[in-house]
């Protein structure tokens, strides 16, 4: 009886964890692309002008994730700069078309990512509930019109003015 109860408890815990952190099977996760650390400008020109706000060091860090679709490449760029709050940072979803400026589809504050290239987070990222978000911080919603970032969603095309 004790074994059965333990098994039920373990299964419930697993299911709850999955509900909280896992990307739905119908969602399409973005893949990590690249990080630009301690840069004085954005090499991909997604962050320019007032949107590029370095801290006292004069530099920022940018993390990018990508998703290739039939309609072009989608890139998510998160900038770690002076405009970050304690838990979120400015993040943009853009569509990239060769030889044209990026088209911004979503522009909002989103959960700070756990950089997969950062050894300092290696043990934490491999640990339990934070692992799922670390591996897949962004996903295209099942309807194709929403960006999923952990427990929040953003309407694509609904960027703030």
């Amino acid at each position: 009886m004790r074994t059965r109860r333990a098994a039920a408890l373990a299964m419930t815990t697993f299911l709850l964890g999955a509900m909280v952190t896992e990307t739905s099977a119908a969602e399409i996760p973005f893949r990590y692309k690249i990080s630009y650390r301690n840069v004085t400008s954005d090499p991909d020109r997604i962050w320019t002008g007032e949107a590029f706000a370095p801290g006292p060091s004069g530099t920022v860090t940018i993390h990018e994730y990508e998703l290739r679709t039939d309609h072009g490449d989608l890139v998510i760029s998160q900038i770690w700069d002076a405009d970050c709050s304690s838990s979120t940072c400015p993040t943009r979803l853009v569509r990239l078309v060769p030889h044209k400026p990026p088209t911004v589809l979503v522009d909002d504050m989103m959960h700070q990512v756990v950089p997969p290239d950062d050894a300092r987070f290696a043990t934490v990222a491999a640990n339990g509930v934070s692992a799922a978000f670390a591996q897949r911080p962004f996903a295209l919603g099942a309807d194709g019109n929403t960006l999923v970032n952990g427990d929040v969603t953003f309407k694509i095309g609904g960027a703030k003015p």
């Binding site: 408890l9 299964m11 801290g55 950089p115």
Partner: protein, 135 residues
């Protein structure tokens, strides 16, 4: 039998949720924060912040760390070591949080917001005042 197991499983799940929520919100006491190096005149405030954030060893699903839940980007600005060493080092968390608060105050000063210190504000009224200034 299955219904009984399900009922038991949901009861256990509820208990676990309550337990984890309580653990997550318990936070560190003013005494433990003072011991970690938080200035004593800030300890009560720091304990209230920690109460809504976590304990020294807390990690949330987004990789935010410790008693003040330093998320990865913020963490990078205020600590040089690994996430694991940060979680195991209350003193480092005290230093990082103190620096973070000082930086936040500097930012508020830079934006001319510190003059509001001590005053009571109502957001709706403030918005009305900003959009409809008295002539």
């Amino acid at each position: 039998m299955i219904r009984s197991m399900l009922r038991r499983a949901f009861a256990d799940a509820g208990f676990l949720l309550c337990l984890s929520a309580a653990a997550a919100l318990a936070g560190e006491s003013a005494a433990s924060l003072t011991a970690a190096g938080i200035p004593s005149n800030c300890a009560v405030f720091a304990a209230k912040v920690s109460g809504s954030e976590g304990n020294f060893g807390s990690i949330n699903p987004y990789g935010c760390l410790g008693a003040f839940q330093f998320c990865p980007g913020t963490f990078e600005r205020y600590y040089d070591g690994s996430a694991r060493s940060f979680l195991n080092d209350p003193s480092a968390q005290a230093v990082a949080w103190t620096q973070y608060e000082q930086a936040s105050w500097s930012q508020a000063e830079k934006n001319g917001m510190t003059g509001w210190s001590g005053s009571r504000s109502v957001m709706a009224a403030a918005a009305q005042r900003l959009t409809n200034p008295p002539s």
